[in-house]
């Protein structure tokens, strides 16, 4: 059985990754998951300097999902390169570093700092709903998406994945803009902006007032967007949004995703990534499919 997939020339042992921000740099989850068995580790977003993140409470549970507004707390790219990359290099998995910033210059500083590091790809987060500047501001305007993609591509030595926001009227417009900017791949969806009110405290459930919604409740939205984007652009897609098991992952692959990321499910079960992987294998056995690539985007 072949589970290997190729994205922009990078060969992955299998299509299962985890979604940025749910897995740190893998250190904590390595007590539960053999990182060698993941197609890739996608790190939490890293900026040019340390970011303190948002006030607490930063999360709230919702029906079949959750809201988060962590605010991209991260230790900055210097510490990340010295501490997290050497840790990940101990494993036989691909390393995708998620990059965040407040200005184009911030993003480029991180991209340049990472250019000679032994990482496989960069995922550019232009879609975080929880930071005031940068993040989603870039991801909601196609001109900005194209410009930042071009700027990143001009500096990056590794293939680039642009991570798209679902908080737009037509996600294919953003996908086409990223493709026009020269992106090597796309990942989607980031979280959907939401809100929860604590009716007894009569205030917002999270301090940031709004947060990014994730978890199984968002999956139909994510599958729809992956399908739309897969039929609008020709670059490969990493699909994510509420994947809890192999069947969920197969929906994304059949809709057009070359790989999948497991996010919020890691909180419900620290070994969720392995369950997704074995679920995909079971599906392939059940349907007598030898190569996962035969299933990508076949539902038209």
């Amino acid at each position: 059985m072949n589970l290997g997939v190729n994205i922009a020339g990078v060969q992955f042992e299998n299509p299962v990754m985890e979604a940025s921000g749910t897995f740190g740099s893998g250190v904590e989850f390595s007590e539960f998951v053999d990182l060698n068995k993941l197609g890739a580790v996608v790190t939490k977003g890293v900026a040019n300097v340390p970011w303190p993140g948002n006030p607490t409470p930063r999360i709230a549970e919702t029906y079949g999902g959750m809201l988060n507004a962590i605010g991209l707390q991260n230790p900055g790219v210097e510490v990340f390169c010295k501490r997290d990359i050497p840790f990940l290099k101990k494993f036989n998995t691909k390393i995708i570093v998620n990059v965040c910033g407040k200005t184009v210059e911030d993003y480029l500083e991180v991209v340049e700092r990472l250019s000679d590091e032994p990482i496989d790809m960069m995922e550019i987060n232009i879609s975080c709903p929880n930071v005031k500047e940068g993040g989603i501001a870039f991801g909601q305007d196609p001109k900005c998406v194209e410009a930042i993609t071009k700027a990143v591509k001009a500096k990056a030595k590794q293939p680039v994945i642009m991570k798209l926001s679902p908080n737009v009227a037509d996600i294919t417009v953003m996908a086409k803009a990223a493709e026009a900017g020269g992106t090597d791949a796309l990942s989607l969806i980031n979280t959907i902006t939401g809100m929860k009110i604590d009716i007894h405290k009569q205030t917002f459930a999270i301090a940031n007032k709004t947060g990014g919604m994730s978890g199984p409740a968002v999956k139909p939205v994510a599958v729809r967007m992956v399908y739309q984007v897969a039929n609008a652009v020709s670059v490969p897609i990493i699909g994510m949004g509420g994947i809890m098991n192999g069947d969920d992952a197969m929906e994304f692959i059949l809709a057009g995703a070359t790989a999948v990321s497991v996010g919020t499910a890691n909180f419900m079960n620290p070994t969720a990534t392995m369950d997704v992987l074995s679920g995909i294998e079971n599906y392939m056995r059940m349907h007598n499919v030898e190569d996962i690539n035969q299933l990508i985007g076949i539902v038209k």
Partner: protein, 257 residues
Amino acid sequence: MKYKEIVTVISQEQIATGIYSMWIQTKDIAKDAVPGQFISIYCKEGSRILPRPISICEVDKEADTLRIVYRVVGKGTDEFSKFSVGETTQVVGPLGNGYTLENRTALLIAGGVGIPPMLETAKALNFMGVKVFTVCGYRNNELFLKEDLEKYSTVIIATDDGSVGTKGTVIDAIKESGVEADVIYSCGPTPMLRAVKQYAIENDIICQISLEEKMACGIGACLACVCKSKEVDDHSQVHTKRICADGPVFYAQEVEL
């Protein structure tokens, strides 16, 4: 070492209004648990996706069982309270760092559902031969765990309504009783911890406090449950520490409340 296990409920009992005591059979979690640590308990109802972090109240290492005493505060804990004997669920633990037990007279200060972790703490300190005082703040005369705590410590009570012991706060009860000790171990609501920290500073007593915050992963990856740290933290490179992984127990002077 942290374990993900399917545990079995051995007993379940309501011990006060809205407060339940549950013993669970673990495989390895209880063996490794120390006082002040917690476990993540997962709901079986699929719409509730996040684990509930609950402090460890008591451990029986030989039988590999542990006890949690928890308040029903929402749908998740309500689900736990309806688990019957023999039922199973997913648990990850033991999590967090626990208290650093010192061989000096101990003052345990706790309020409400901050009281449960004091039982294993008192038991361990008593086993070490340390003199232990436990000051408990309750809402009223429903003094859950008081008799358990009395096996290992001298218990001093404060109640909000004055029905038992000192009417007022745990600090009022400490002052009224005149109790003195070398090390404070504390767990409870943040306003109480703030007062305990202040008391410890004024009296120059070493003070360890256990914090809580909304958690997602429970193992230090997601950065949801942070607290403010006095110094720049080595892991975060900013003034935050992870309650689930760097805590939940901190020296009071390390953190801003």
